[in-house]
């Protein structure tokens, strides 16, 4: 292993105290009906979202989103001259996405070095945003989207997509539509929309070996197009279709909140009387 000389180094190996917690006696019952935070199963019951634009003074556009305990911040820089001059297509702009977990954002401490999960999320973010951005309007240039997860409490990609599209709109990057994200955890016959970290990674409820999986959908709400779709686990085809439909519904639930956040940002930057 190469030694990291650009950071203050700690011990070679350390373990989370959570691994040494004594198993508590009474196992908490797996709630079949409701969910831990009181939301309903198998309904488009998304967590209330708090969204704000324009928090980062240095960025062209920025957004902060909080859904339950999941907290994400995003900045957009550019359009500016592209780094990669060898890129084949100079007529269209480049979108660059960088997703990161803050080291303290997950139950287990993460490394500063971008891991493969972060790379996969960066790519998922990029593919979900690409269909919405009018990149042909920005020849020879690149637009950078940086997302940092400050706290990961489930559905992180879905909210990252929403957050990034808010920041892009705040930056005044031309877009065909906003992009909204919604995630789902399929648990046997029922599903949990916008799952928390525990619901996302938790064990299946008893007695249902089939149809366990996770789905994330990114939606262009007014054009009604799916710009991103990812799933894993094991699902029958009709379950999967149902899950995608539920996610689309979840995205639509989010739309008014995001519209309001954006309108607020527009009004703050230039009060209606000024125009």
């Amino acid at each position: 292993m190469p030694v990291d000389t650009k950071r203050v180094r700690g011990p070679d190996e350390s373990q989370s105290p959570l691994l040494f917690v004594l198993p508590s006696t009474g196992k908490p019952e797996c709630p079949q009906e409701g969910r831990e935070d009181g939301r309903q199963r198998s309904q488009a019951d998304v967590r209330p979202v708090f969204a704000r634009c324009g928090l980062i003074s240095q960025a062209k556009g920025s957004a902060y989103i909080e859904a339950g305990n999941t907290k994400l911040i995003c900045s957009v820089y550019g359009p500016r001259e592209t780094d990669r001059k060898d890129e084949v297509d100079m007529k269209s702009g480049r979108l660059v996405c960088d997703f990161r977990f803050a080291p303290f954002s997950c139950p287990k401490r993460g490394s500063w070095i971008q891991g493969s999960e972060e790379k996969a999320l960066s790519l998922g973010l990029l593919e979900s945003l690409l269909p919405a951005a009018c990149l042909h309007k920005y020849p020879r240039s690149q637009i950078e989207v940086n997302v940092v997860a400050l706290e990961h409490d489930g559905s992180v990609l879905a909210h990252a997509v929403t957050c990034a599209s808010l920041a892009l709109a705040d930056a005044g990057i031309e877009m065909y539509d906003l992009v909204l994200g919604c995630a789902l955890r399929q648990d046997g016959p029922s599903f949990l929309i916008d799952p928390t970290f525990a619901e996302e990674s938790g064990a299946q409820s008893a007695g249902s070996g089939e149809n366990q999986g996770r789905v994330t959908v990114a939606l262009l709400p007014s054009l009604h197009q799916v710009s991103g779709l990812q799933s894993d686990g094991e699902m029958a085809e009709d379950t999967l279709v149902g899950a995608v439909k539920a996610c689309i519904e979840g995205c639509q639930r989010l739309y008014p909140v995001i519209q309001q956040a954006l309108a607020r940002a527009v009004r703050r930057k230039a009060p209606p009387t000024a125009v």
Binding site: S116, E117, A120, S227, L229, D232, E234, E237, V241
Partner: protein, 291 residues
């Protein structure tokens, strides 16, 4: 060649062809190209396979090594995927040029296998919390001619089928220190059940229709693809939208349906072929790269 650029006229020609269910090479929308599969091609691995699909050429080698189980799942072994997009396939991959594609593919493979049924990971455990088998699944891209994911998934499945893991014996001495002994007999080994190992079907939306096993030219006409990994029972283990375009929900549902059908149909001839090849045993003429 990971991607090609084609002219507008070519695009129109391909899109019109697909509309009439007639592709440039004469295939229908749901037909695969000719596929060649050979297992046991690299002798110093525990399992290997080579798959040729069109000119796409994939070599998979699997090595089993003894390691420590992950703390969260102490009674299971695990799989590690690595995809080497070698410069042999295209000069673009020279140096670190193939790394991004390599991580993208390996991340997808992790998702495809992220479920308890694809591979019996418990069988890979030697002694809980202490020792387990780690299967290093190394994918080597030798040539790219479109539809890498499908070819890679078939090659991985074939290589897993071919994998033989030595049997181990755990002996404990007086002080309680455990020692692992590998069986001396090369035929005394463990096989993996690949019954539930999924295969990937990538569907590309071209015009208003979707096609399987797209060539590079066809891929260039498509704005968005849908990747599905399907088991022999028709269960979907992973879905991913690939590419810079969007899809309307209806076509996603149609593509899922096609994907499931095609993926399911792909499985039994593949298993038959693998079993037939194995039944030849030592009599089989190994072709490798010399054929």
């Amino acid at each position: 060649m990971a991607t090609v650029q084609i002219s507008e006229a070519e695009k129109v020609y391909i899109v019109h062809g697909v509309r009439d269910d007639l592709r440039v090479d004469g295939r229908g929308c749901e037909d695969y190209r000719h596929m060649e599969i050979e297992t046991d091609v690299v002798s110093n691995t525990d399992g290997s396979a080579r798959v040729k699909l069109g000119y796409s050429d994939i070599l998979v080698g699997i090595k089993a090594e003894i390691g420590r189980p992950r703390p969260m799942v102490p009674d299971e072994g695990f799989l590690e995927f690595f995809v080497d997009c070698s410069a042999n396939a295209t000069p673009e991959f020279e140096g670190r040029g193939g790394e991004d594609l390599g991580t993208e593919i390996s991340n997808t493979l992790y998702k495809v296998f992220n479920n308890p049924h694809s591979v019996d990971l418990r069988a890979l455990c030697i002694s809980p919390k202490e020792h387990c088998w780690i299967l290093y699944v190394d994918v080597l891209l030798l040539q790219c001619d479109g539809n890498l994911y499908d070819a890679i998934s078939v090659a991985v499945k074939a290589a897993l089928f071919n994998t033989r893991i030595p049997r181990v014996q755990i002996s404990e001495d007086d002080e309680g220190t455990k020692e692992i002994e590998l069986s001396d007999d090369p035929y005394d080994c463990m096989r993996l059940s690949v019954e539930n190992v999924p295969c990937i079907v990538t569907l590309c939306k071209v015009g208003q229709r979707h096609i399987v096993d797209a060539t590079l030219q066809e891929k260039a006409c498509s704005k968005a693809c849908l990747l599905l990994s399907v088991t022999s029972r028709g269960t979907v283990t992973c879905v991913r939208k690939i590419g810079g375009g969007s899809l309307d929900p209806e076509s996603i549902f149609e593509m899922t349906e096609t994907g499931k059908r095609v993926g399911k149909a792909l499985q039994s001839p593949l298993m038959e072929l693998l079993q037939k090849e194995e039944s030849l045993g030592k009599k089989r003429q190994k072709v490798g790269f010399l054929g």
